[in-house]
Symmetry: C2
Subunit: 412 residues, 2 copies
């Protein structure tokens, strides 16, 4: 191995800020759209609005147990001077009414029943009494429309059941089901190919390590982040540091990928190899991010496929992928704004130094409303697993004082 | 159908607050524990701590590119008066060192390489120069331990890689992989059997509805919430309102369930049928929750299986299941505290009335930092799909004034 002084700035000749990367590195690629069954559609992203073919609920429905009436027949009714109405029958759940409401009449209604012809309101059973067979007393007036929902009050025919570009939530599945939509056109899960590099890296199922070997921690963790972002991770193995090996492997995986993530070797040589291989196959958008940890990050596009080159330390790689890679995965699936993350406010437990011009991502443990920074080299993955969340010291700041109220993004 | 006055309080003879339900209704049942591959372990709940069989990273490692040295040999070094050290060789990635560091010597180190015998620090390459072959200049002193991680600094042998009871996150998968743990003992996903009831309810794939029929919106939406909570939903069909039908179906599904959810018919009769069927098979813990929407909620335990009876309106059912059912699903899988939900603070756009003694769950749309309540009968599922989140008016409050700062739990 040759170790020697490097020309300053060689490695990070196209460094950017995280904000620039999020705003500027936006490959046009989107995954294909296809129908999936409702049961598999949770958090999938519809390509466009899905319209209702008819109105919902589809008929005027009672929202209470009571009596369908003409509202005008109840005007002036009170406990002391009830309106007396003829009981004409009752509506059964799930069936068409067999009787209409004529002036002076009432029809028994279950919640959810079909409003009979002639009725324009439903009196709650609590405001009635059936003191004589065939007659009910109404002790409170109702206005037209009271106790009912209109046939198109949930969704009008042709209106959107769900919007395009927003991941489907549980209630969306309900509304689609109500409208009879059991196959939903959504973007395919982005296939995120994860390549690990490094002669020292061996598969996680390696029982016994030789001296200097480490198991691949980054690929399984990245796969988890990809899943959280709605993507389909493809762990594509470990590439040796041999010159040309990564380039050859990239050429193999690019045609089947929506995004390629290279968890780079950690040494200078390995990083240079990654940058060289990617540059040979496409356009490097940036090499170097003003972020700590995570500076040696590379963003590129090769044959229309975005490629993210991550730092070799698992902690750095995961921090960067969370901030820069996860929004990419969502966007590939047609989602403009990733779902919100949980967060909380806390008081910083100690002073936090930071260099201006660099985004610092600091892992913290929370206790009693205090955020305690977890310091440690970015070679330690346990810094991340011990954290409850992270805070960000923005680019302009030169640090934060103990006691400062900070926003902590929580892991879940 | 018979509709008539009911004795006051009959239906909700054992009403509780939501806080009482969350604290008090805690069935002892937990799902079985079994090993799953790492790739399927995301968000699964380990039954107990998973210990490391050996230390991590397993050997003292360099965290920088540079030279392994004895720190004492660098004391006093500066740009003007460097320390001169003999270059004894270099460590290769993933291999054992072939040379030790003796006093006055240095060995080239890649980031992540194995620290050679005799060295106690690594000088960053930036603070060195190789001006003559075989000799390096060190221009800044290092302390012992600088530029390295100890063999057990990430995790000590026998220490916990992950804790029990907390769903696994992406970085946890990384740490497990690093330790060679590729099968993780986790709780089985709780099997949540979802029964829909109501003569008016038909399956979502029903192409044409007869008058008065509605498609089952609640079951697919509940299935989504169950998945979000790490459970395995089992949509077990629609039970007619016929007396005895629900009880018979409950007896069928209870043996294969960790939790049974009955989305009750919406009419009084259907609700009474649910309560009767459940009471006949087990112990009713509460019938009636002080919550709006969602009052007609039933919590019970039948043969050791928790049973949740939900209101008939999809909106009410989903609101209650989110608040009371989701923590149950997590707990069945051995998770004490469900993962945090995203939230934000916003100004209430208008006055919000509420009855004291009742928890009000209000759906809101967010715009420019304002939370606009979405009003509408709980028969309308679109109230929920249009919302960005919800706020809670706590039990003691009699309402909130416009302009109040409120905490909005965000949907994702």
């Amino acid at each position: 191995m040759k170790v020697g002084p490097r020309p300053a700035g060689r490695e990070f000749f196209t460094a950017r800020t995280v904000a620039e990367a999020l705003a500027g590195f936006r490959p046009a690629r989107r995954t294909a759209v296809g129908g999936v069954p409702l049961a598999d559609a949770l958090h999938r992203v519809p390509a466009g609005a899905v319209p209702a073919t008819g109105p919902l609920p589809g008929f005027a429905r009672s929202t209470v147990d009571g009596y369908a009436v003409r509202a005008a027949d109840t005007y002036g009714a009170s406990e002391s001077l009830p309106s007396y109405l003829d009981l004409l029958g009752a509506v059964r759940m799930g069936e068409a009414p067999t009787v209409a409401v004529r002036p002076g009449g009432a029809v028994g209604m279950p919640t959810g029943g079909v409003l009979p012809e002639g009725a324009d309101a439903v009196v709650m059973v609590e405001n009635t009494a059936e003191t004589m067979p065939g007659t009910i007393e109404v002790t409170r007036p109702v206005a037209p429309g009271s106790g009912i929902v209109r046939a198109d009050e949930d969704v009008a025919a042709g209106a959107a059941l769900v919007k395009g570009g927003r991941p489907l939530r549980a209630p969306d599945l309900g509304l689609l089901a109500a409208a009879g939509v059991t196959t939903v056109p959504v973007h395919a899960r982005p296939r995120v190919v994860i390549l690990s590099t490094g002669d020292e890296v061996v598969p996680p199922d390696t029982a016994t390590l030789l001296p200097g070997q480490v198991r691949d921690a980054t690929a399984p963790a990245l796969a988890g982040l990809v899943r959280d972002a709605g993507g389909e991770p493809v762990i594509a193995g470990i590439v040796s540091d041999e010159p040309g090996a990564l380039r050859a492997r990239l050429q193999e995986v690019l045609p089947g990928a929506d995004l390629v993530v290279v968890s780079a070797g950690s040494s200078v040589g390995a990083r240079d190899e990654t940058a060289g291989a990617v540059a040979a196959l496409g356009d490097v958008w940036c090499h170097g991010l003003a972020i700590k940890p995570g500076k040696p990050t590379l963003l590129a596009e090769c044959s229309g496929v975005p490629v993210v080159g991550l730092p070799g330390n698992p902690l750095s790689a995961l921090v960067v992928f969370r901030l820069v890679g996860v929004p990419l995965v969502w966007r590939l699936a047609g989602c403009a704004a990733p779902p919100p993350e949980p967060s909380t406010r806390a008081r910083l437990a100690r002073d936090l130094p930071s260099a201006a011009g660099r985004l610092d991502v600091v892992q913290v443990a929370l206790r009693d409303g205090e955020a305690e920074p977890i310091f440690g080299p970015s070679a330690l993955l346990s810094v991340l697993t011990r954290a409850d969340g992270y805070l960000v010291v923005p680019e302009p700041a030169t640090g934060l004082d103990a006691g400062t109220e900070v926003e902590v993004t929580l892991y879940r």
